[in-house]
């Protein structure tokens, strides 16, 4: 076992220090396989059935432990230190402190305000929900990063959930007002917001695109996605009306509903095909903006990578009756990991532990709002 980097100063000075304490270009790799992930997905579903679905918090934790430990950076695995109980308590806490008051005030508004006043309250509720979604994303990430260690040192997310929730809401409104065209810009801004306040140990991430990241066709690909999406939508509506399906559905014709569903599948696939180019470009743009502790990140992901994994993932989930969902998420993670490049020179001994141990309880709202990813 060779020593590639020294630990703390052992008190004897430079004589005993190894010659090189730095490491060049870290290789990122994930060697997870489908079998074990299918098994975790299977027993999480089955045990969920007998535990009022509560087992999902432990299942998700076991999935992450495995996925993290099978992902290596410079031959050292990541480690997930979260616990199922933390996720469970986080969800219970979020229900009591956020969901209950929110639902309670909606119910109260419904009961004690007249119909007209309630109609006025409805848009407000939507605003609150989108704010909560933003805040939940932030809190889940804070938990995630604080429970991820690499070489014994924690990641961390600093910043405020409230601020991030408000920004999410603002960018969303802007995106709606611009018919989606502010979307890619907003997404990059939000990413920057998170990453520029993320740390590995005491080292802050930096978010600034390099020349290659700037060259990514983010808006060109978005234009294709937008035009393609609109065309598919118009085509779908035209088909439905020209076949007279709308009238048949109004009169409760089950066959017509079946035809519409049959049309939605190819339409969805077409939209997905139009969007992968953009998805790949924006991933390269965001990843290519990241650096930390002298290391520069970039992603070599292509639209074709995404299409092939997405299509096979859909089949995987369908043919396993949903049990394969975790395995599908693993395959996506694996793709992102294997396409990630980390270049530069790092002196690990200089990276100090992050003092923040992170939140006591996990994720919380993200679970209740149904946006908790397995990773």
């Amino acid at each position: 076992m060779t020593e590639i980097s020294s630990g703390r100063d052992w008190g004897l000075g430079p004589v005993s220090q190894p010659a090189a304490t730095t490491t060049q270009d870290l290789k990122v790799a994930n060697d997870s396989t489908i079998g074990p992930m299918l098994w975790i997905g299977f027993y999480t579903s089955v045990l969920g059935f007998f535990t009022f679905t509560i087992f999902r918090f432990w299942g998700r934790t076991q999935f992450r432990r495995r996925l993290w430990s099978e992902t290596t950076v410079g031959d050292e695995p990541l480690e997930y230190t979260g616990r199922g109980m933390e996720l469970f308590l986080g969800a219970v806490l979020a229900i009591l402190t956020v969901m209950l008051p929110t639902i309670g005030s909606v119910v109260a508004a419904q009961l004690f305000l007249g119909a007209a006043a309630f109609a006025f309250v409805v848009p407000l509720i939507y605003l609150v929900v989108f704010f909560l979604i933003g805040a939940a994303v932030f809190l889940a990430r804070r938990y995630h990063l604080s429970r991820t260690t690499y070489r014994g040192v924690r990641f961390a997310q600093t910043g405020s959930a409230t601020a991030y929730g408000l920004k999410t809401l603002g960018y969303l409104l802007l995106t709606v007002l611009t018919l989606g065209w502010a979307g890619p810009w907003a997404r990059i801004r939000l990413s920057r917001n998170l990453w520029a306040k993320a740390c590995y140990g005491d080292e802050k991430f930096e978010f600034a695109p390099d020349e290659e990241a700037k060259r990514q066709p983010v808006y060109l690909s978005f234009a294709l996605m937008w035009v393609g999406g609109v065309a598919v939508y118009v085509g779908l509506i035209y088909t439905i009306y020209s076949l007279g399906l709308n009238d048949r559905i109004q009169s409760g014709d089950l066959g017509a509903i079946g035809i519409v569903y049959a049309l939605l599948l190819p339409a969805g696939i077409l939209i997905a095909v139009f969007s992968v180019w953009h998805e790949a470009a924006i991933t390269r743009r965001i990843t290519g903006s990241l650096s930390v502790a002298g290391l520069r990140l970039s992603s070599k992901i292509t639209a074709w990578d995404l299409v092939s994994v997405m299509i096979t993932n859909v089949l995987l989930v369908i043919f396993t009756l949903g049990f394969g969902f975790m395995a599908a998420q693993m395959r996506l993670w694996k793709l992102f990991a294997n396409r990630l490049r980390i270049e530069g020179t790092i002196d690990f001994a200089k990276i100090q532990q992050n003092a923040d141990r992170g939140p006591k309880h996990g994720e919380g709202m993200a679970d209740g709002l149904d946006i908790a990813a397995n990773f």
Binding site: M1, E3, S5, G7, R8, W10, G11, L12, S16, S45, L47, G48, F49, F50, T51, F52, T53, I54, F55, R56, W58, R65, S69, E70, P77, E79, G84, A91, V92, I95, M99, L100, I103, V107, Q110, L111, F112, L113, G114, A115, F118, R151, G152, V153, R154, G201, Q250, G252, G322, F325, F348, A349, K350, I351, Q352, Q353, D367, G368, D370, A372
Partner: protein, 379 residues
């Protein structure tokens, strides 16, 4: 001895920075000694934490240890030394330990969720009655008025029903007073084709234009009204409100789940609702029959009303699927269970018919009933 067995070595991340040092390891009876170039550390055996085992459980590629007193520290050891560590602490390194722990966890969770289910599906419904009775009548009346104003956005009140309502008022008051309903009744017709009537909390009662079309005579109409008045009296709307609220919040815990498990729990919730709906219908029927008899009206009119209503409502497979009605604006409303063709309904019809007794009185004159009957004629 040309090749003395090399002592185990490991990579020690001390948890203060991301660098590591190589250490020689000595496993003793009382613990593990980590010897670096410049320092020695001792990890007492009782404080060992097996963080992860990478690779096969019985022949791992490597494993990571930590220590309770310094949870950030990590010692990475090559899998070839697994057996030596397992000999020192067979319990900690037992490959089946994870499985056993999980079995314990699952048993605990099954017990906890059984308790939770009991609270949700029996505790909350049982508490809904006392809660409803403890709610102030003013509060319930206010809730009922607001619910009505919202429902009337979807189910429009019939346009020219003022005259009919004025004619109905004395009859409704008579039934409400005799039945000791406990709330002032606010009644209106709504323009919905499907024959139905319903009672919201706090004395709000509605009947559809479809019901007016379906009933053969005023006796059938007032029998249905008597049934609704008893929902008001027993505060069934308020009970359902508390029950739904409790179940809804309980189910909130499940919304993050997906697939089979969530479907199962949701189904159980629907069955619970249905069970209580049935009980409420039976109660309302029983009291309505008594009220009709006491007022000199024919209880069997309720049976005839049910028959008239089901003759108009969809029956057969479609009804068993849960009849749905599409309102303007594509709002779909589920027709209440008591309208559905179901063995239950036959039972209710025969219970009403068993009490048949010719009516001794009429609540409305023929002319007034004709006016009421055309309350929704203009939509």
């Amino acid at each position: 001895m040309l090749h003395p067995k090399s002592p185990p070595t490991g990579q020690y991340f001390d948890g203060t920075n991301a660098g590591f040092i190589s250490v020689d390891l000595t496993i003793g009876a009382d613990g593990l000694r980590l010897r670096g170039a410049e320092r020695e550390i001792f990890w007492p055996r009782r404080e060992w934490v097996l963080v992860s085992v990478i690779g096969a459980a019985r022949a791992p590629h490597s494993f990571r240890l930590s220590v309770k007193s310094d949870p950030d520290a990590r010692l990475v050891v090559d899998g070839t030394h697994f057996a030596e560590f397992a000999a020192a602490d067979p319990k900690l390194f037992d490959p089946d330990r994870g499985t056993r722990r999980m079995a314990g966890l699952v048993l605990g969770l099954v017990g906890a969720s059984a308790a939770l289910l009991a609270v949700l599906f029996f505790g909350i419904p049982a508490a809904s009655g006392p809660l409803a009775r403890a709610t102030s009548r003013d509060l319930e009346a206010q809730m009922g008025r607001n619910m009505t104003s919202q429902i009337n956005l979807i189910m429009r009140p019939c346009k020219d029903q003022d005259e009919a309502l004025a004619l109905l008022a004395p009859a409704l008051n008579r039934l409400a007073t005799a039945g000791e309903v406990g709330f002032p009744i606010e009644f209106r017709f709504v323009s919905v084709g499907v024959p139905n009537a319903f009672a919201l909390p706090g004395g709000q009662v509605m009947a559809t234009s479809g019901l007016l079309d379906a009933v053969g005579d005023q006796d059938q109409f007032f029998a249905v009204i008597a049934h609704e008045l008893n929902h008001v009296k027993r505060r069934h709307g308020m009970q359902a409100f508390y029950r739904n609220l409790g179940l809804g919040l309980g189910l909130e815990l499940v919304t993050g789940g997906s697939g089979v498990a969530q479907q199962g729990v949701t189904l159980a919730a629907q069955v619970t609702q249905l069970r209580h709906t049935r009980n409420h219908e039976r109660e309302a029927d029983r009291d309505a029959l008594a009220l009709l008899a006491a007022e000199g009206l024919d209880p069997a009119a309720l049976a005839r009303a049910f028959e008239a209503i089901t003759a108009r409502a969809p029956v057969g497979d479609e009804a068993d699927e849960g009849v749905r009605l599409t309102l303007p604006g594509k709002v779909r409303v589920r027709i209440p269970d008591w309208l559905r063709s179901h063995p239950d309904l036959d039972e209710r019809i025969s219970a009403a018919r068993a009490l048949a007794k010719p009516a001794r009185t009429r609540l409305l004159s023929d002319a007034d009933w004709a006016t009421v009957k055309s309350a929704c004629a203009n939509g």
